[in-house]
Amino acid sequence: MHRTLADEKTPGLAASHGVAAMAPRPLAPRVATGDEHPATAPLSIHDMTVAYHRKPVLWDIDFDAPDGKLIGIIGPNGAGKSTLLKAVLDLIPKASGRVMVYGEPYRRRRRLVAYVPQRESVDWDFPVSALDVVAMGRYGVIGWCLPVSRKHKAAALAALDRVGMADYAKRQISQLSGGQQQRVFLARALVQDARLCLMDEPFAGVDAATEQAIVRLLQDLRQSGRTVLAVHHDLQTVPEYFDHVVLLNMRIVAQGPTAEVFTPENLHKTYGGRLTLLEQAAQAMARQGRGT
């Protein structure tokens, strides 16, 4: 049986299952040293909690990404999937916890990480071409105040070509279809040449052809030893697309190889009935956290 972190990490549940807490477990409860995290994991999250307006949205996240795998983050709406990525990237503050990328704090490993945000997060009427957007992936390498050289433009064009969008390089981005826009975002991640890629719903609102193209691209990335962590919505395609899954509903409900973890039982725990015990506990705590 695969261990589900939720059982031992939820204070409310642990207390109510006092007997279970004393019973022998397949793995000892984690000690908060972080020593058990492999030093070279592409991404290692230790005991991370994230709150919006003092209302926690992610609890006690402990996660080590296996190297060179495609990892899907699955969970219902409001489970904190996007928040998880943003907190890892320091885009929103963490209430507590630590994030390591290949054994170093994220701050020192920015170059190794690419981020593909949700398509709706940007203004597509912005006056830039597809090539301009892809070239943005090189800005970190180029450095402050220096112009985008021909070399970097060529790299951007090559990345566009890899996603089958070379013909659209000069197009203003609002003239692209949803699928094409997503490909531009992927090309931007490619041009960063990162070892770890975090993607927020890369398959949302794209056509079937683009979905297949993205899947092939992800497999290419894995082939070359990259690790991809993607928020995903379509449960049907999970076993086909991902080697590894993280089932998330404000906490990590289960994580591991898809074949072991992606079970009806775990999905029920994650998506639950109308209101799972996890959510009820979280809501109760959120009410108190607001200082009522």
Binding site: H53, R110, Y115, V122, F126, D132, M136, Y139, P147
Partner: protein
């Protein structure tokens, strides 16, 4: 009109101020925070007042420092109220800048008892007085304001060129910028500081209305004109400069024509740039009102032409041997277009040799018949498709098909045909015309055409 060197200096000041504001305005407009220009340009007032009250001088340095500090504070307060109070961003801006502007007014009125800090001057400036306060530069007497504004324009130009890509990425995708190590927050506060300092540099000479206008209007107009970032920056400056020059020209000529003496130059510059915006909005090639009107009109003409073709085809179908060939008036009543539109459609169809006119009236040419057959095919396929998939009464089908037939591309039409294998008649029992021969690029789908091919 009597143009003197005074006018040249006034225009120079206006142009430099307009250019400085327009450059920064691009980023406000692109970040959808145009109101921030409004907010900061008002909120700097207490900064000026406090700088004056503490140092006792109206020198540039204390003024700029005061403005920069208050500009950043405005941005910070707005952010705080927005996140902590969960107030909408534009509302929190409104709260911050009105409160700060009012506080600034109170301070200025107090200070004004001692010196000439005129609250009215804040609104509309004193651009006409610029040539009076001059400094020697390389043997020339240059107005102090032109020196300051020239420096400001140069500084903003440098800022924009230096941070060209940083400003772009943090406006387009702040999250990505941050993950690349380009702090979007730092760029935000740099921009706010630049806006605050520019505002102050321009205030004294042109007043807050022109500053706000030049921050927002040229950039908005430029955005309508182009889809390229660099071009937008250049265009915005050109529009602002044109507004300043034409504005001053208008200020010294237009009122005179109506028997008044000349009017507020900075007011006229703001009005002119507003008019330029209206012109751009109307005439812009792709986003402009006029081009949209033309586009819609051309679409109407195409639909009218297709309606005429469809009508002629159906008449011919009903009586293939010798139909009473219709005339324009009859077409008008049958097709439902206005007489001049159907006449225009007929003229256009004749020019394209799809319709010819013989003594008895209008008839399809063989080319026109082929085009019409495709159209009628689209119409009847759509009716059949709707009837197959939706629970619609037969009398509901025609109107939908009438609208849709004009927009079914060839591949879409054949995809629908493929969904209706072996169907030769529409729900009303009329024949569905056969599709044209499969095109080279559609050969793989030729099996789809099976029924039609047999029939043809």
């Amino acid at each position: 009109m009597n143009w003197t060197s005074l006018d040249s200096w006034i225009v120079a000041a206006g142009v430099l101020c307009a250019g400085s504001c327009a450059l920064l305005g691009n980023f406000l407009v692109l970040r959808r925070m145009s109101m921030m220009g409004d907010a900061i340009s008002h909120a700097v007032l207490p900064g000026l007042a406090i700088a004056f009250l503490t140092t006792g001088s109206r020198g540039s340095v204390p003024m700029f420092v005061g403005a920069a500090v208050v500009g950043i504070l405005t941005a910070v307060f707005t952010q705080w109220i927005h996140t902590l109070g969960k107030v909408e961003e534009s509302a929190s801006m409104g709260v911050v800048f009105t409160a700060m502007f009012a506080a600034g007014l109170i301070l200025i009125v107090r200070a004004a008892d001692a010196v000439d800090l005129d609250p009215g001057c804040v609104l509309y400036g004193a651009i006409e007085l610029i040539p009076l306060d001059v400094r020697p530069v390389l043997g020339f007497m240059v107005p102090r304001a032109v020196l300051i504004l020239g420096g400001m324009f140069a500084a903003n130009l440098l800022f924009t060129l230096l941070f060209y890509k940083e400003l772009r990425i943090s406006a387009f995708d702040p999250a990505l910028a941050s993950t690349l190590g380009i702090s979007a927050r730092l760029m935000h506060y740099l921009l706010m500081t630049a806006v605050a300092i520019t505002t102050v540099a321009c205030f004294e000479s042109v007043g807050s209305i022109l500053v706000i206008a030049m921050l927002i209007v040229p950039a908005s107009a430029a955005h309508l004109l182009t889809d390229r970032y660099g071009v937008m920056l250049i265009l915005s400056v050109l529009i602002a400069v044109a507004g300043a020059i034409l504005g001053h020209l208008a200020a010294i000529t237009v009122p005179a024509r109506f028997g008044f003496s000349d009017t507020s130059t900075s007011g006229m510059m703001a009005v002119t740039v507003g008019l330029l915006f209206a012109l751009v909005m109307f005439l812009a090639p792709r986003h402009g009102v006029l081009s949209k009107l033309v586009h819609r009109w051309l679409l109407s003409l195409r639909i009218a032409c297709e309606d005429v073709l469809g009508l002629l085809y159906r008449l011919e179908e009903a009586d293939p041997v010798r139909q009473p060939a219709p005339v324009a008036g009859m077409l008008h009543s049958a097709v439902g277009w206005s007489p001049w539109m159907s006449r225009l459609a007929l003229a256009s169809l004749r020019r394209r040799r799809q319709v010819r006119r013989d003594p008895s009236g209008y008839r399809l040419t063989s080319h026109g018949r082929a085009v019409a057959a495709e159209l009628v095919r689209a119409h009847r396929l759509w009716e059949t498709y709707l009837a197959k998939h939706l629970p619609l009464a037969a009398d509901h089908l025609h109107d939908s098909a009438d609208r849709t037939e004009h927009f079914l591309s060839h591949p879409l039409r054949e995809a629908i045909a493929a969904d209706l294998p072996g169907v030769l008649r529409d729900p009303h029992g009329t024949n569905i015309p056969a599709g044209d021969a499969p095109r080279a690029d559609l050969t793989s789908k030729s099996a789809v055409h099976g029924p039609d091919a047999e029939k043809g």
